[in-house]
Symmetry: C2
Subunit: 368 residues, 2 copies
Amino acid sequence: MGKQAVTIVDVAKAAGVSPSTVSHALSGKREISRPVKERIFEKIRELDYRPSFYAQAMKSNSTGMIGVVVNECRNPGTSLFIDSLAAELEKYSYKIVVGLAGLNHRKGAELLRHFSAGLVDGVFNLLPQITPEEAQVLCGSTPVVTNIRDRSIPIRLDYDKLTWTILHYLRDLGHRRIGYISSPTRDPRRPDSEATRQIMAEFLQKYGEEFDPRLVVEGDDSIEGGVSGTEQIMNHGDVTAIFAGNDQTAFGIYRWAYLNGVQIPDDLSVIGFDDVPQAATLIPPMTTVRFPVQEIVAHTVKLLIAKLRNETLPPGQISLEMPLVIRNSVADRNPCSRKSWNKTISGKQISTLNPRERTSTERSMTCQ
Amino acid sequence: MGKQAVTIVDVAKAAGVSPSTVSHALSGKREISRPVKERIFEKIRELDYRPSFYAQAMKSNSTGMIGVVVNECRNPGTSLFIDSLAAELEKYSYKIVVGLAGLNHRKGAELLRHFSAGLVDGVFNLLPQITPEEAQVLCGSTPVVTNIRDRSIPIRLDYDKLTWTILHYLRDLGHRRIGYISSPTRDPRRPDSEATRQIMAEFLQKYGEEFDPRLVVEGDDSIEGGVSGTEQIMNHGDVTAIFAGNDQTAFGIYRWAYLNGVQIPDDLSVIGFDDVPQAATLIPPMTTVRFPVQEIVAHTVKLLIAKLRNETLPPGQISLEMPLVIRNSVADRNPCSRKSWNKTISGKQISTLNPRERTSTERSMTCQ
DNA sequence: CTGCGCAATCAAAACGTTTTGACGGTTGTT
DNA sequence: AACAACCGTCAAAACGTTTTGATTGCGCAG
């Protein structure tokens, strides 16, 4: 529409110098004499000149911005990730652009394309529906990393082991029929719910028990999805514990329980995933898995920055733990309470809010 | 750094036409013959050409993006607002850029300046620390609207009346010493906590009681701030109810209560503000104020769009209600329970999650 | 056969920067 | 006194688009 209010040429004219001199005064890439420099800066202030972001971006062919595409911001796990990402990227003086795709696959794809047309220097794809490969295609030559499923991220997160640990933990406390509500996924290589079904089947096989696939349902990372997922699962009787793919969904389990007069943990045990701050504020405080956002973001950002600079990261993966943070949403259903994981640790767990302070106790929970 | 992968010139060369022809084929602003057009589009696909966002922005001097600056995303009220904003702006085919300022005033100001240097066409300032006037200065000629305090927004939200309603509601249920945890503010004209102090004093005066200013403290919109704010308030004895400037802070009250073995609502009543989805998942479900995000966002966006188009909005303010959503976090402390607002309505309230379904009941609560 | 209007395409300018090579002028070295 | 080195400044080109007036070639009416 209209022209930019005041340009570098206006400043140059006002100060009686050439535009390039103003540019140099601003960037400091060449020496400018004291009096001239002062005159320039005076005019800049006077005219309230702001270098056009776009002209700069066009010259340098880089924007200092990183795009992050998510389903929606309202999921506390997502917003935590975003905050964390912004904080980490700031160290490299990058800003972030958040793209909200909703639950719409097409819109997500569009957003990725849009972003990678020079709007940002790099992209974080946090959409579970879009695979790393698909994202790479959509982003063309713009570096992109996809969540934590991206092979190129030097982090190993052992979800299978985690599932195993949770199942073990629950069984140890006397739970037999266990439900799971997953995140939505379209990754053909690793459909979240399918993978979990498989592990649950394997796990039960060990005990010579049969697996009921109806106890694993796919949610949509929302509270409502958690409520209806719980409803579905509870229809199949005798379920005493449900774990969820994220805390938001787990909140839905709480909600369902309240609406149906079911007590947590006495009647139904719950385990979440993410360990968002709100998880500790529930009553009873929710047992959940601490997703190491900070570390993951730190490493992922490092990778992205390396890609941006055309550097290559020193090889070698690090393995990150996802400890079970034991609070009070899982009941011990054993007739005579034997050495229960729950009772011994929960006292200390619940007394702190800050994840950092809990590390020592958590670690022990992840060893097998 | 490097050049853009493939430009319009490359496409033009490949198709044997001039760049302007390609541009016209793309924009459709001039007729291009069938065969040429097809050749062009073929090459575009073949080379995976994407028009440079920045070059386009520079020509049109507009980006199709709106910036929104917030403290942090992790506050569910904030993320809800962001989601809502994105959805609304999409109708006008604007995208959003989210800027995270943390609790840092300087960074917020920087972000606003940065945004308004052509990065976005308009700005939403959601920082409570930055006043509409300050924001306007920082943004220069870029249109900006500041949260809901902006005089130019055609919405009237009567916070004073709301505070009055809450105080009334609580007093009616037998609460005498009432605490408040505010949002952080630097607005000299309307310091949030100060305004509330004043109203509380007026309210108590009506009953010939004295007001204890120590019962109003300033939070930082975080759970931790809620915990420590509650701690401070509870130090001054006999407080039976606390209301908060937002739900995130109210979660902190729940947290404090749990950590200190205090029962909600029996020992301490809580009222939040925002009505984020998580508020209903707490046990007991939290009584809170429904902040009409949807409507506010709709109107505010309308205003911003008008500013962008240099149009002027038809005058006339609309008044939006902020109904108290009564759930179960407030106790009736009257010896013999007389007509209590709580008991009569809560049954219906808690049975639904979707705010839309609650409207009729809510309204009645706001009529003084 | 000339001239006109029209459709399709092109060439050039513009947007606001940064960058680079060039140009005077001063200073310092022999 | 001559020359090199250097400093401060400038002019011009470049970045990838869009836009606009100009230029073709064509069919068709006079």
